[in-house]
């Protein structure tokens, strides 16, 4: 049986890959994809903790499903934003989008 730690390490690695992607990718769509990776790392943790510590209940899986739903909604909003930005700025490169600049 795979020990719990391995799952957690996998999740941590996945999270770091995602975080790196979010911080370093220039393309907004790639950033959205990286966010998905981070969310999935969370899912792995949820399911792993459920399986190893609370196999009787369904809380972990339930939360994972919620995360899926939220991730799907977030993707929809995110892509809509990217399209909106594309229409106004003709770019999806995040460095060129600096309306918040002080």
């Amino acid at each position: 049986m795979v020990p719990l730690e391995w799952c957690l390490i996998l999740a941590a690695v996945l999270f770091c890959v995602g975080a790196y992607g979010v911080l370093s990718r220039r393309n907004a769509i790639a950033v959205l994809m990286a966010i998905e990776l981070m969310l999935n790392a969370v899912n792995i943790n949820l399911v792993a903790f459920w399986r190893y510590l609370e196999p009787g209940g369904a809380t972990g899986q339930g939360f994972a499903l919620f995360v899926y739903a939220v991730a799907a909604a977030e993707m929809a909003v995110g892509l809509a934003l990217v399209i909106a930005i594309w229409r106004t700025h003709k770019t999806t490169v995040l460095e060129d989008i600096d309306l918040l600049k002080g």
Partner: protein
């Protein structure tokens, strides 16, 4: 030994899946390697399937066989197990699916390479999709529960979307003609309507029974329970409701009325795809679902079987009428497919389980054959067109024909063909055999035996179904003859048809192999009561597949009730009517289209005749598929757009300058705020100002005295603060870059620092 061999079933879907995965990951640059890999995958699956099939046939006592289950999905306290399940229905599907798939894959190699100077850039991807599709179909057949059935069913749905829209950049000059991209979307969305019902059926079944494994849901106790429990406290037995919901999936996938609209447009995909998905395998998945869940359908007598039979019968007639007026060579076959699927559904609806399954198998062979031959014809026409075009160009370069030539050429249009039998004999003969099998040409074609079986059962079960199906059979024979004559007989009607070359062997050899099966396969199911031949050859198919329904006595009871003693009442009337329908339809078709072949530009004789008796509008309606696409476009598609517009208007307003409700509310709030501020402005200017001025005057008197202190001390402090803030702002301004990723990085670092600090403090405190 038997168990070991039957356990090979596990491996059947694995190899096509590996091929699917390997092509995009490893071999996609090498076209030859890609298609070899995919054909190899299906080839191994084919060999394994044959082993399983023959083992099952020779050891029928071991059926149904179920392997040990593995846990594959645990949800909460529930553990789903996965195993393979082989019963006679699975076995015959395993005979048909890999064989047809393999033929189509080999044909695809020829199809994708032949006739064009440059190979399709997505060549490897095409084969990868095909392989995934085969995985879906095989996985659906072999596993032992409805959950995996549904998963693989959806994999096929995705593949059909990808494959129909394979040439997604293709556009036609006629804006009303559906493009591959739209056709793929249409197929996906329409079948999803059915899938939703299927999923609801699964949910209800699971909620009531607590399992989706065939062993549990088809057990006698479960069926008893489903038959005698009302749905939500009503009179309807659960079995009826579940059966109808599952049947919703069938209606979508097998393109039954009213969800039939996707299949004709799915012909936009490459022809091997039409053959694979929309004739031989995927659409039969819907029928297979009913075959698989037949115990539930027959657990209780109820209106649901009438609905099943009714939809099947209506679809069979309805689409064969439309097929008469189609000019697209694949369009005729598409409607013919819908019609034949209606036959199968009707057969299942009247309880003729074996006959329906038999027609499913034979139809797969001859319809795949017809599609592949028509693909060969289309290729020939395209090639001939290019050839004629070039010829023309060389000859009269200066002529004004050039503009005329630039018009879009539709290689699928049968009106532009004619006389191809001489040009493409190795395509013509298989097509002829397939067409005869489709029409049910007596004695030597497979279609005759399976259709005859359905008609015989329908005769004893329900006269209405029987007569409608007979009429549909006659129409089928008629339009098949029309198609053969228009395509192959007479003289070429265009330059393209005159120059059409024969296709390459990798296309024609699969045709020949499929043609063999389209003929011989019927001989395994010759009914016992058939005169002369019947008693001589045992009805192997019925003995083998018929044994599946040992699951519940209910099934036998209901099926027996519906088709009261199919064997006892062996009246010869259905046989005679079947023969009359097939031969009569073919003969009339020959008289109309074969005796005097169509001239170029001549109107279709049927259309001309109908116009003469003021029925031109009916022909027009048939050609336009009775306007169902138009109706759905106007109601569902435009309805959705209208709803979206409505919300948009609610939000923003429809035209610039006008405001929607939400916008209006926001603006109203703004106006209200403005009003309030004006009032306070007035109050401010007149009342507060006066008071302030008064206080000011008083203050001024006082402050004159304090002036010096103010200028030096207080000002100094205030300016000092300002200078400090300004300097600080200048110092930290660079971090406000406006780039969201910088902010995120900073936030992450801060959190890291805080967490570190937190643990550090805890460490310090604990020491």
């Amino acid at each position: 030994m038997t168990t070991t061999l039957l356990n090979l079933t596990w491996l059947i879907p694995v190899f096509p899946f590996l091929a699917f995965a390997a092509v995009p990951l490893v071999t996609y640059r090498n076209r030859k390697l890609s298609h070899s890999l995919v054909i190899g995958g299906i080839g191994i699956a084919f060999v394994l399937s044959q082993i399983v099939f023959w083992t099952a046939v020779t050891h029928p006592d071991d059926l149904p066989f179920e392997s040990l289950g593995i846990h594959w999905l645990s949800a909460g306290v529930e553990n789903f197990t996965l195993g393979v399940y082989v019963d006679p229905a699975t076995a015959v599907m395993l005979f048909m699916v890999p064989l047809v798939c393999m033929m189509i894959f080999i044909y695809s190699v020829g199809y994708m390479n032949f006739g064009t100077s440059e190979v399709d850039p997505r060549y490897s991807r095409f084969f990868s999709y095909l392989s995934l599709f085969a995985t879906g179909m095989l996985g659906m057949i072999v596993f032992n529960n409805l959950l995996t059935f549904f998963i693989f069913w959806e994999i096929m749905g995705t593949c059909s979307y990808l494959l129909i829209g394979f040439w997604y950049e293709k556009k036609y000059p006629d804006p009303d003609k559906i493009t591959p991209k739209e056709a793929g979307l249409k197929a996906f969305l329409v079948t999803k309507v059915g899938d939703l019902f299927f999923m609801l059926g699964l949910a209800l079944l699971y909620a009531e029974v607590g399992s989706l494994a065939y062993r549990d849901i088809f057990s006698a106790e479960t069926l008893e329970y489903l038959a005698h429990t009302g749905f939500l406290g009503t009179q309807f037995p659960l079995a009826t409701v579940i059966a109808l919901l599952l049947f919703g999936g069938t209606v979508g996938k097998s393109a039954q009325f009213p969800l039939h609209v996707w299949l004709p447009d799915a012909m936009e995909g490459p022809t091997p795809v039409s053959a694979l998905i929309h004739a031989a395998t995927m659409v039969s998945a819907g029928v297979f679902l009913v075959v698989r869940c037949f115990p539930i359908f027959t657990a209780v007598e109820g209106s649901h079987m009438v609905i099943v039979a009714g939809i099947g019968t209506f679809t069979a007639l309805f689409s064969s009428i439309i097929a008469i007026a189609q000019d697209d060579v694949k369009g005729v076959l598409a409607f013919s497919t819908i019609s034949q699927l209606g036959y199968m559904i009707a057969a299942l609806g009247i309880g003729a389980y074996v006959a329906g399954a038999f027609h499913l198998i034979t139809h797969a062979f001859f319809k795949a054959l017809l599609f592949l031959s028509s693909g060969s014809v289309i290729h020939g026409m395209e090639h001939g067109h290019h050839h004629a075009h070039e010829h023309h160009h060389k000859g009269e370069h200066e002529s004004d024909h050039e503009e005329h030539e630039e018009q879009w050429f539709n290689p699928n249009d049968m009106k532009l063909m004619g006389g191809l039998a001489k040009r493409m004999p190795r395509t013509f003969w298989p097509f002829l055999l397939g067409g005869l099998a489709l029409s049910g040409f007596p004695l030597f074609t497979a279609g005759f035996w399976s259709k005859d079986e359905i008609l015989a059962q329908a005769y004893t079960a329900s006269p209405v179904v029987f007569w409608v199906l007979t009429v549909a059979a006659a129409l089928t024979a008629f339009y098949t003859m029309r198609q053969i004559c228009l395509t192959f007989a007479g003289e070429p009607r265009t330059e393209a048809a005159k120059h059409a070359p024969e296709s390459v062997p990798s296309m024609t050899v699969p045709l020949a192999i499929l043609a063999v099966f389209a003929v011989t396969l019927g001989w395994v199911g010759i009914p016992d009561h058939f005169p002369v031949i019947g008693p001589m050859i045992p009805n192997w198919f019925e003995h083998f597949v018929g044994s599946t329904i040992e699951v519940g006595e209910h099934a036998m009871k209901v099926a027996g009730h519906l088709s009261e003693g199919g064997h006892e009442a062996h009246s010869q009337l259905p046989l005679v009517m079947g023969l009359t329908a097939a031969l009569g339809g073919l003969a009339v078709g020959w008289l109309v289209y074969g005796r005097k072949p169509l001239k170029a530009g001549q109107m279709d004789p049927v259309e001309a005749a109908m116009r003469k008796v003021w029925l031109g509008w009916l022909y027009e309606a048939m050609r336009n598929r009775f306007y169902f696409d138009w109706l759905y476009q106007k109601t569902f598609v435009n309805g959705s757009i209208w709803l979206a517009d409505l919300f948009d208007a609610f939000d923003y307003g429809r035209e610039p300058g006008k405001h929607g409700v939400v916008d209006g509310l926001v603006n109203l709030a703004g106006r209200f705020g403005l009003l309030l501020s004006r009032i306070s402005d007035w109050f401010d200017a007149n009342v507060v100002d006066a008071l302030v001025n008064l206080a000011g005057h008083a203050g001024r008197l006082v402050s004159i005295g304090l002036d010096g202190f103010d200028l030096r001390v207080v000002d100094g402090v205030v300016n000092g603060v300002g200078v400090v803030v300004k300097a600080g702002g200048k110092a930290i301004r660079p971090i406000q870059t406006g780039r969201v990723q910088n902010y995120l990085l900073l936030a992450s670092l801060m959190i890291l620092a805080l967490v570190t600090a937190f643990f550090f403090i805890i460490l310090v405190l604990s020491i």
